[in-house]
């Protein structure tokens, strides 16, 4: 349930962002070519945020669980301080990613200190996704194209400005702190938001007419070798799908010496790499691409669902957009 709901008049957005930038970095989506990309706010530069487009090309993982992060230092384990960051325009699909990382890194023991630190210094200011595109399928994995509670604040662009709804204490405090920039959100504003939400839902349902079967997890678990092979036959092993995915969280630890000290560095990893599961002695339980390709489906639609009760898939469609062979994960899942 909403804790606080206000309207930020369009003209006040820049002031709001400028004020936030005094206490941390602000990132927002801006158009570059045909896609939205996350850029850092610079008060000397231009500010042309794009909230109407679908999710940015970069996934939320970059901000919470960067591709390279020092997780321990030896012999003295000193963690660098993390700067506060405000991320504007996060879409609900990316918030599924945050949900997945929270469950893995915060809610299951032991807690991951590096993730905890970046999560606690991050304020997520989501934005509705009023105009889903052909790659989008968040509706198939249990999401709406607008946030209903997983961010700190959600923004809906309406005629008079931006409806800002706080979902957390952090979000609420932030709105209160900058109350002078906000006005009341009227019934008309809220009606407009309902219309936007309804239209977005309808468009998404139009794009994805077929739903995933309730038995999807079992279907994935029991897919035969032929189905697994057919699913991957066009894959050229570029691994773009995994690195672009906001719910993939595999990582690898490696140590690097720095003089007399050394650091333990966490980098993103991906289960499609041939050496991913290979053991020291050389044996490899997933030496075949068929096995590695299907492992991704099992991980997202079977195991994570079994353990956590939700699909580790956001429906963001980055895997499809980024795929060199244009493999559509939906098609594979629908055919099971």
């Amino acid at each position: 349930m909403s804790m606080k709901i206000y309207l930020l008049p369009s003209d006040n957005l820049l002031s709001f962002v400028t004020q936030l930038s005094k206490t941390g970095s602000v990132f927002y989506p801006a158009l570059n070519g045909s896609a939205a990309h996350m850029v850092r706010f610079n008060k000397e530069g231009t500010f042309e945020p794009v909230f109407q487009k679908i999710r940015s090309a970069e996934n939320i993982k970059h901000f919470l669980f960067p591709s390279r992060d020092i997780v321990a230092k030896f012999p003295n384990d000193v963690r660098p301080k993390t700067e506060k960051q405000f991320i504007f325009g996060v879409k609900n699909c990316d918030l599924r990613g945050v949900e997945v990382y929270d469950r893995v890194f915060l809610k299951s023991e032991p807690i991951d200190p590096a993730y905890k630190q970046s999560r606690e210094s991050t304020v997520l200011i989501s934005a509705d996704c009023p105009d889903p595109e052909d790659c989008c399928f968040c509706n198939l994995v249990g999401l709406h194209p607008y946030c209903t509670g997983a961010s700190d604040i959600n923004m809906t662009p309406v005629t008079r400005g931006y409806i800002c709804e706080a979902f957390t204490k952090t979000g609420e405090q932030l709105l209160e702190k900058h109350a002078d920039l906000f006005t009341d959100c009227s019934k008309e504003d809220q009606k407009e938001r309902e219309k936007i939400h309804g239209a977005a839902d309808r468009k998404l349902n139009e794009i994805n007419k077929k739903v995933f079967k309730d038995t999807l997890s079992d279907k994935v678990a029991n897919a035969d070798r032929k189905a697994q092979h057919d699913a991957r036959k066009n894959c050229v092993e570029c691994h773009a799908c995994l690195h672009a995915c906001p719910t993939c969280y595999c990582f690898l630890l490696s140590d690097y010496t720095k003089g007399k000290e050394y650091e333990r560095v966490r980098t993103w990893d991906a289960c499609y790499y041939a050496a991913y599961a290979r053991v020291g002695g050389g044996a490899n339980p997933r030496s075949e691409l068929d096995q590695r390709f299907w492992n991704r489906f099992q991980c997202k639609f079977d195991f994570f669902k079994q353990y956590e009760g939700l699909y580790a898939c956001s429906g963001c469609g980055r895997c499809y957009r980024g795929c060199s062979a244009k493999i559509d994960i939906r098609e594979i899942l629908w055919q099971l």
Binding site: F74, D112, F251
Partner: protein, 271 residues
């Protein structure tokens, strides 16, 4: 107080190195950075090189921590370059211990192959510590050649213990070898325990695991009484990085020991 960093390895000095075989060495650490229970494992860091997972070979009741390790990959090769007095990093314990309390009053059947005897030694020593609680401990161990047998200096003492029954075999014998010749399954033709109630513990190379498990299942061991040490690529050791997953199990969290009941539905559990 700052939260404990699960990625931080506690610096530990190597106090003694024992060369067991041409390719297997035991590293004894100075002191015990943490307590563990038999069956749990640790991540060992060679400073600046990296980490690999190992199950201690020492008793959980010892004051020191020991690891018996075979040189096979990048980290173990660097480890074998280290000398007594050099530093290692250790973090752990990880994984689930053996449910030893379930086996009180029972016969215990242990089958090891090659360096796979290392984690089983930790189990064996834990059982010896409370020997009165168990009816009898059977150990069956196979190595490639007599030279490849680990703990040669300890075995004669163990063999003397009442209620311990040990048998050995080698794939290829030599002039000095008076014992059995053949792979470890030759020691399983006659299994002298109460198969219906006894737990069995297996650790060894994948091919050995496969055939020993097959033999134990045929012999009639309960599937949830066949305890298998699973080998898997591990990075984090704490159920987050995803590397070690086999089927629905995280070997680092649900294992490293799983039962045949757990893994029998997996297409190829021993790779």
């Amino acid at each position: 107080m700052a939260a404990v960093n699960p990625y931080y390895a506690i610096p530990s000095k190597i106090s003694k190195i024992i060369k067991e075989t041409p390719t297997i060495t035991t590293f004894i650490l100075d002191g015990k950075p943490f307590e563990f229970e038999a069956g749990q494992f640790a991540e060992l860091t060679v400073p600046g090189v990296g980490e690999a997972p190992f199950t201690p070979s020492s008793s959980p009741y010892d004051d020191v921590l020991e690891f018996t390790i075979m040189k096979v990959g990048r980290v173990t090769s660097a480890l074998f370059e280290l000398k007594e007095g050099d530093m290692l990093g250790v973090r752990g314990p990880f994984g689930k211990p053996y449910p030893l309390s379930k086996f009180k009053g029972k016969e215990v059947f242990i089958v090891g192959g090659g360096v796979g005897f290392a984690p089983l030694r930790s189990l064996f020593l834990a059982l010896l510590h409370d020997l009165k609680d168990y009816k009898k401990i059977y150990v069956r161990y196979g190595a490639r050649t007599p030279d490849d047998i680990v703990y040669k200096h300890l075995i004669p003492e163990w063999e003397k213990i009442d209620r311990v029954d040990m048998h050995f075999t080698v794939d290829v014998g030599d002039n000095t070898w008076k014992g059995r010749v053949g792979v470890v399954t030759v020691l399983l033709d006659d299994i002298p325990v109460d198969i219906k109630t006894s737990p069995s513990f297996v650790c060894g190379p994948p091919i050995m695991m496969k055939f020993v498990t097959q033999r134990l299942v045929e012999a009639g061991f309960q599937h949830d009484n066949i305890f298998l040490s699973m080998e898997s690529n591990m990075s984090c050791g704490i159920g987050k990085c995803n590397h070690c997953r086999v089927g629905k199990f995280y070997i680092c969290k649900d294992g490293p020991v799983l039962t045949w009941e757990d893994v029998k539905h997996i297409e190829e559990p021993f790779v």
